[in-house]
């Protein structure tokens, strides 16, 4: 076999491997989406009851306190119960927020096109990313109040989640992820920065390539670390490829990045406010 033919065969073999990996990832995500939908459905009912009962309990305790006004000891017990019910209310609100966040990401389908606030989509993605960030990552938000845009909210939220998770995972130890949104002409500009080590120059040309990751199996997936993973492709190098697909192909937007060694990385996303318009028009 001639060297050129050998090279072509090798190239085809690699593409086939990537296609297989993409298919396996898509199947995994579809199963995960179905599982999440089922879990959310199961917990919605008890959470609904908890929230409702908590409101009734707090109001009943207020009424009981008025009835027991003459007995300081009884009033003290009611105060303790009211304090616990108030904590339960906060706990319930957090559960409801988690359910709403997960519901937005649980569908594997792209869903319907509609109007959405980019800041809201990012906030929802941040609630989920916070599970990964823990106390290690500080989030700084600089929202410029961009207008609502016409988009596919579910996949766009997934793209933001991928970028936010990547940014957080790029940081070793403590660090900061900064999110900035601005309206620029007919576009919304979203910049997501991390304080990680930055993307190595040799990795930059391949960063949106499907299957590329600095640590192919389960390594660091951060933007600065030139990984391409996150919830849609952890360890397979598909996260940023999928993100690019959602931004560029689905929304006619643009995504690029800037990075200085040792000074973190910033991913810039530009989405047209009206669909049908392509970036650069």
């Amino acid at each position: 076999m001639a060297p050129d033919e050998l090279s072509n065969t090798e190239q085809l073999r690699r593409e086939l491997e990537l296609a297989r990996a993409s298919l396996a990832e898509a199947r995994k995500m579809a199963s995960l989406g179905q599982l999440l939908t089922a879990v959310v459905h199961e917990i919605n009912t008890p959470i609904g009851s908890l929230v409702s009962n908590n409101e009734v309990a707090r109001r009943s305790l207020e009424a009981l306190k008025r009835v027991l006004a003459g007995s300081p000891e009884a009033a003290g017990i009611v105060d303790t119960m009211a304090g616990l019910a108030a904590i339960d209310k906060i706990a319930c609100e957090r559960l409801v927020a988690v359910v709403h966040s997960v519901r937005g990401f649980s569908s594997a389908a792209r869903g319907d096109r509609g109007s959405a606030q980019v800041n809201d989509l990012i906030d929802n993605a941040l609630k989920l990313a916070a599970w990964i960030y823990g106390k290690r990552i500080t989030v700084e938000k600089d929202y410029g109040g961009p207008p609502a845009i016409e988009c596919y909210p579910q996949p766009l939220g997934q793209a933001f989640l991928n970028l936010l998770v990547n940014a957080g995972q790029a940081i070793d130890g403590q660090g900061t992820v900064t999110v900035r949104t601005r309206a620029e002409g007919g576009y919304i500009h979203i910049a997501i920065s991390d304080t990680g080590p930055g993307i190595r120059p040799e990795d930059r040309p391949k960063i949106f390539t499907s299957g590329f990751s600095t640590k192919p199996l389960a390594g660091r997936l951060g933007a600065s670390g030139a990984g391409a993973g996150g919830p849609s492709g952890e360890g397979t190098g598909l996260g940023l490829a999928i993100t690019r697909d959602i931004i560029v192909e689905l929304h006619g937007g643009a995504i690029d990045f800037e990075s200085q060694p040792g000074a973190g990385a910033t991913f810039h996303v530009r989405i047209p406010t009206e669909q049908g318009r392509k970036h650069g028009d």
């Binding site: 919605n44 009912t45 009851s49 009734v56 559960l95």
Partner: protein
């Protein structure tokens, strides 16, 4: 079927906790009468003979799903307002329910009590307006019949 002076709300969910929670909240907040059911077939039997103002039901239930139950409710009491309360955010179910049984509102679990109450209040008002309208139409029909009768007698008197 006679109407109720005190508004009646039927709550159907195969989860006892949902029925109890909504019943307790509405009893605290309103003077409505609440009929709760965990068995949708029992609920249908009740709806066949007892007038209600609002029917709130879950979708995914054994024996009879929420859309089927609301179809029965619509057959027995067309003016009663129908509401779906579901943990399954399924657009297909919602479209089916709206098209087939004319659902007034589609609420998702976990519900907010204040929102639920707002929807129930509007639903009761809607039902009562429908009933008033039906009463007025019956009065108009009766008046129209009287006028036709008088007209016929006048014609006979002058001929």
């Amino acid at each position: 079927m006679e109407t109720n002076a005190q508004p009646v709300v039927a709550v159907i969910d195969d989860e006892e906790m949902v029925v109890t929670s909504i019943r307790t909240y509405l009893q605290l907040e309103t003077d409505y009468r609440i009929c709760g059911f965990t068995d949708p077939e029992e609920a249908v039997k009740h709806l066949e003979t007892h007038p209600v103002d609002v029917v709130i039901t879950d979708i995914m239930m054994p024996k009879l799903n929420g859309v089927q139950l609301l179809a029965c409710a619509k057959r027995f009491q067309p003016e009663a307002t129908r509401i779906l309360l579901t943990g399954h955010a399924d657009k297909q179910n919602a479209i089916q329910a709206i098209n087939e049984v004319g659902v007034y509102q589609y609420l998702e679990k976990p519900w907010e009590n204040a929102q639920l109450l707002l929807v129930i209040n509007s639903a009761i008002e809607r039902t009562q307006l429908f009933r008033q309208l039906r009463g007025k139409i019956a009065e108009l029909d009766a008046a129209h019949g009287n006028i036709k009768d008088i007209q016929a007698r006048l014609i006979r008197a002058f001929l």
